[in-house]
Homo-oligomer: 801 residues x 2
């Protein structure tokens, strides 16, 4: 078998550096066949695990009752076999159901087993809500402290205060750190001092964040969504969803956001919620022991994460369904919905804000939009698509450079430099100085009559104002200043985000993407508004926008722009629109959002097919078989299978004619993870498939414990072993470890069907036959390499099996 | 092969009678093998269709360019092969893509091909919206006519009127038919006259409806959702989604609703929307010719149907995803969403109501609910579950009786009798006399200060009223009367709906189910409200419901009850909650709805696993492989495959040793739809699978057009045919019609995996091997029969293949 094409490389990803190598195991190599590293010798004991639980209930039941350590689990950085995992869960379920008729206790066990999924969802929802609240509190701790009680956050503190004050944000109980320590100051010197303090605080926060990540939880960096997508598709990354990752990511996330870097906390919150889900899985045997069941829980946890991040439970469920999940049975849909709701309501009922807002950016628009406005909305969509494609290309190019050059060796320095540049550039501009979510909030806001922000500094004509309804007005000087500042902020955000995403701190993309779009949208919105105000007699405006009418809502443009940019980067569609819809709650704004999201996706797809998460998955070489893309080439299974045409034939084991020594020679001379068993070498008729790990354990065990097993003993995989001459040593029967139902396809099967089978059934390998004769084998890695090759990508970028 | 187990029955369903038999073809028989009725002799010509387009591009391209009539299509009442259909579409797509580089015209063709799906969705959305509007207009036509213009409906007519009037419903322009014809009358005699007229109108409408259905479109009866589920799972029912069904169903639906029968128009609207989708598919080659692609469009059309029925686009998409669709790729999700939105906005922009309400029942609640109220909400859930289970059992029992006894022979009489009983019982009670959707509207309504309906006749204490906020008040005599009338209405609705659903008129279940729940909910709501009013000092009320506070909203209880009952009957979960959420728009009411829907599903599932649609699918014997239920028995492929243990061996064709005569004998002596091709009878090594239809066409064609093909000619399925003695006749090469990639499983494969393969890949048949030797075959029908047998149901209830 051709081994030259495989790179004996070490695990290295955009979000990893030398630290992670220790975890990933630098000695691993990733060739197709050796996904079973040297067997753990402590494992001992006869493995009754039979590769799918397919031959007889008794062995499976023994396995359930007395699990041998390590059996049925997977090595790190390996793909799981969904069919096997689901079979195991069904076996478990069958046993519990059949036992439940025996005693009341067993019945109770069966009921509790059925409800444990719901309990788990409840806990995940609660925990996800709590984490979001603590992150909020920590964010405010950066600014100051509440004298009335340090556990109150800023808004809650001022809300508790009963003194009257004009500005909602200023109340005597809330003291900023500078108020506490430095005292007030005005003038140039104070400005420079504040500037310096701003940069120093930013550097301190980011340094702390990167050191924590580096020191305690290297997996806590990045947004985590690419890895979660990969894990959910059936891949093992141990520790990625562990408790340390949870703790460190929560803390460093707040530090990173506080440091003023151009990043958000929404993506990482999904990762944090998945950590919760994974940790809580350990409470229930059903989920602890089964990788497939656990992935159902993680899908729901991802939904809960988005639900708390945006306050959008339905959007969260659709995000999980559309973006991150792989297997998403309808049962999971309903449970995810439950988890997402519980999360949203936990957040609300222990509400630290003192108001009843559930959503991240609460928006209330009053005016309907006009059909002609679809033109600027579609322009925003085009902008979003272009920006998305540009961002993905530049970010991936930068991350690749980080991986391949010396740049990746100094993650701390990199973070400090980017933080310093961000802080230095951000401070002079009001709109970059404020936190990005505040900025988005302000941009989404529809100017009311009482709004005092610069963006709402219009020339008021109180004669034409009726009630709350504000007509379109001429922009005042404040608006023009704001426009310039926003334009500068836009340029800065666009570039700095490219360098920020992928650094060794937790960093989400949702908020920076939305900010870019919101700025562009607001700029366009104000421009259209002024155009309509000064030129309401133009034919395009006449008829729907007369003088003194409120026809343009710049906040809506900002929202549409945010949706377009987010869509361009992530290529979300339905979930994006639903999340945005849940922010406004008005069905009528779905159409603009949808038009922008659709345009943005089309434009971005025309430039590059991959969204940012898929691009990072490919960059890291994870074995992710995309469920959305259809394989469209006309190759056949024979073009993909191993061995290739001129390679030596496939290594097989015969069912009743090989001795223990023969098999041991095969096992030690090859590194494949499993061997097909055939009737005889000449006929090549397939009998079954045996896993390397099972074979080694069984032979070792038999040599130790079973009398008469020597190197010349014949290994027999059949039910009835052939009679042997009386002088020969006793036969080693290994029927129980043989998987009698391996998946097969013929060599003429089109690869599009093979890809479909791998995708839909979650296979790890598939055997190839021709006229009933075994010809070769296709593994998931072979499929992925073939897809990469067909797409003119480097097939060696697929690192793992 | 055992043929005894198969019933040579005729197609008969709950919604069919002797009329449908003519359509279904009374001469059909439903054994596993004969799903290919006598070949259409006009078809002529060599079939280059090669069963999946798997061997070479050239033949497939020919096929694309010169489609032979009938080739690649399916017979009526047969299952489609998803793998084959999807392969064909990919071939088509590949060809268009490769050609697009050749010329500008081809490029334009490729672009228009890519966008045709979106255009189709737009058209479906528009049409679905228009149909809903015309149905509304026809409903009002029953009551009267607008003198200002007959094309205005009631509400629009009065809205146009510029005379002032107190009651929104009464304006001089709108004349009811009785006003036009009879003039007014009061007193006992007038009451009797009105009563009589009511019954006569009802009988006339229903007679017209049933006669139209019987005469023109027998498929227009029932809700259509069970059949649409089956069709979407890959089954052919010709004419079920045709233009006559569309026209007749739209008209009779309005007639049936107008007749006052206990049925709704929401389910049938889904059917009507699917008819639109199917008819519009004929505009685009891509969708006209491919059954799998067409089903994607139908999924989206179903979403658009629910979207217009309830004004809930997101709920519609989730309904399609959760309830009716089978294959629902993410691309379809996004397109469905688009179609659903367009539909909702068409409805709104050509709004015939003159208001901007998008939703069916517009509800606005002001008061939050208290945690303790979850107790009555869960009680409503239990009621809903019990009612759902009771309804399904009784309705199925009644439908079975209709199928098996003489009752089914008189559909017109049945409709008339049920209408008469309904009308006679309904008239005296105000709440049954009004249309069911009006009733639900009134029950959902939160009593405002100006509401004049009986349900809002509370003892007003204007001293305690502040602004719009109405405190809980003592019920007045009107409320008590209403309670009694509602209780009677509840009893009547519960029983009459059982007999109504399944009659030979279009009948939806959503509205009657919701009405039952809404009545029960309102009754409970008022009871709790009065309890809280009179006993606000009880510990359970103190603390959250002080005197003079508005704590209970009976309208919310009605809504929760409606959700519970609908959930109990249909077993919808997420989509139900989202639809209800879209009616109110308030995230806070999701929790009560969810609690009720969940309880209701659990209670109903504990009594019987099937929802009403699944129960009707089983009653009709459709080959529907449920995607939600997991197969949990420990049987293996060898237990299910044909031939059984003591049967004669499987009929096979050898690859290069059979003469034309031999094959013709096999074809004429068996009725199987396809034959496996093996290397030789003794080795039984599988080469491929050949379809009966292709075989017959090819042999016939060769005998006519190819020289030297006689009965003794050898048929050769291999690439290189073995050399024959020079005296023998020339060889008939049939490689091109051989499917070289049939799906195989081993005989030891657990059935749970086989079921999964059939479900996920959409197979029609699967071959079974043992040690590389062909053993038998499993068809979709075998799988369904086995599932029925394992669930202790009659395996012969599965009628179709």
């Amino acid at each position: 078998m051709d081994q030259k094409g495989y790179r004996r490389g070490s695990f290295q990803s955009a979000t990893s550096d030398e630290d992670m190598l220790e975890i990933a195991g630098a000695s691993m190599d990733f060739s197709m066949a050796d996904d079973d590293p040297p067997l753990d010798r402590e494992m001992g004991g006869f493995s009754s695990y039979n590769g799918g639980g397919m031959n007889g209930t008794s062995t499976m039941m023994d396995f359930l009752e007395e699990p041998l350590p390590g059996v049925g689990t997977y090595e790190d950085f390996n793909t799981i076999d969904w069919v096997r995992e689901k079979s195991r869960d069904r076996d478990r379920h069958r046993e519990i159901t059949s036992r439940s008729k025996e005693s009341t206790w067993a019945l109770l066990h069966s009921v509790s087993d059925a409800f444990s999924g719901w309990l788990l969802m409840l806990l995940i929802g609660l925990l996800a809500g709590l984490i979001d609240i603590s992150a909020h509190w920590m964010t405010d701790l950066k600014e100051g402290v509440c004298l009335a009680g340090f556990w109150f956050n800023h808004e809650h503190c001022c809300w508790k205060s009963n003194t009257t004050f004009t500005d909602r944000d200023k109340c005597p109980e809330w003291k900023s750190w500078s108020q506490l320590i430095l005292g007030h100051g005005e003038g140039a010197f104070a400005y420079i001092l504040n500037y310096l303090m701003y940069v120093i605080w930013a550097l301190m926060f980011s340094l702390l964040a990167v050191l924590l990540v580096k020191g305690f939880a290297p997996y806590a960096c990045g947004s985590g969504i690419p890895e979660i997508k990969t894990i959910l598709s059936g891949f093992i990354i141990r520790g990625y969803l562990g408790k340390w990752t949870l703790v460190i990511k929560t803390i460093t996330l707040v530090l990173a956001v506080s440091s003023g870097l151009s990043l958000g906390k929404e993506g990482p919150l999904v990762h944090v919620a998945c950590c919760c889900g994974n940790i809580l899985c350990h409470l229930f045997t059903k989920y602890r022991k089964n990788e497939a069941k656990r992935r159902e829980v993680l899908s729901a946890a991802a939904a809960a994460g988005v639900s708390v991040a945006f306050g959008a439970p339905i959007g969260g469920v659709l995000f999980s369904l559309e973006e991150v999940s792989y297997y998403f049975p309808l049962k999971t849909l309903w449970r995810s919905f439950f988890a997402a709701l519980v999360a949203a309501f936990t957040l609300r009922s222990i509400n630290p804000f003192g108001n009843s807002r559930l959503v991240l950016f609460y928006v209330e628009f009053h005016m309907p939009w006009h059909l002609l406005e679809l033109v600027p909305f579609i322009l925003l969509g085009i902008f979003g698509g272009l920006w998305g494609a540009f961002f993905i290309r530049s970010n991936i190019a930068w991350c690749r450079r980080r991986k391949t050059t010396r740049l990746g060796k100094y993650p701390v320095l990199e973070v400090l430099v980017v933080t310093a540049i961000t802080a230095i550039l951000a401070f002079p501009n009001e709109y970059t100085r404020m936190s990005t979510s505040e900025l988005i909030s302000e941009l989404f806001n529809d100017c009311g009559i009482l709004d005092s922000s610069k963006l709402c500094e219009y020339v008021n004509d109180f004669n034409s104002t009726k009630g709350d309804d504000l007509p379109d007005r001429a922009a005042g000087p404040g608006v023009y200043t704001a426009m310039w500042q926003l334009a500068l902020a836009l340029i800065m955000k666009v570039f700095i985000t490219i360098f920020t995403f992928g650094m060794k701190v937790p960093s989400g993309l949702f908020i920076p993407s939305m900010a870019v779009g919101a700025i562009a949208g607001r700029l366009l919105g104000v421009a259209v508004e002024q155009l309509a105000f000064y030129h309401h007699d133009w034919p395009i405006f006449s008829g729907w926008c007369s003088q003194g009418a409120d026809c343009i809502t710049p906040g809506l443009y900002a929202m549409v722009g945010a949706a377009a940019c987010l869509g361009g980067v992530t290529r979300m569609t339905v979930s994006l629109v639903v999340i945005m819809f849940e922010l406004t709650g008005g069905l009528e704004y779905i159409v603009p959002l949808m038009a922008a999201a659709m345009t943005s996706k089309w434009v971005a797809d025309a430039i590059g097919r991959e969204g940012i998460y898929d691009a990072h998955i490919r960059l890291n070489g994870y074995p992710f078989l995309e469920a959305k893309e259809e394989f469209s080439h006309k190759t056949r299974a024979m073009d993909v299978m191993r061995p290739r045409k001129n390679d030596p034939p496939l290594t097989v084991i015969t069912q009743d004619s090989m001795s223990v020594e023969d098999v041991e020679t095969i096992v030690s001379s090859t590194t494949y993870s499993g061997y097909p068993v055939v009737v005889s070498r000449t006929s090549q008729r397939l009998v079954g498939f045996v896993l390397r790990r099972d074979l080694i354990i069984s032979i070792e065990n038999a040599r130790k414990k079973q009398d008469g097993i020597v190197s010349t003993s014949v290994i027999c995989f059949t039910d009835y072993c052939p009679p042997l001459p009386p002088s020969s040593p006793s036969v080693l029967k290994l029927r129980s470890i043989l998987d009698l139902s391996p998946f097969t396809v013929t060599d003429e099967t089109p690869m599009e069907i093979v890809v479909d089978i791998f995708r839909k059934l979650g296979l790890r390998q598939c055997l190839v036959t021709h006229n009933g004769k075994l010809l070769g084998i296709i593994t998931k890695k072979d499929v992925l390499k073939h897809i990469a090759q067909m797409a003119n990508q480097d097939p060696d970028s697929i690192l793992f099996n």
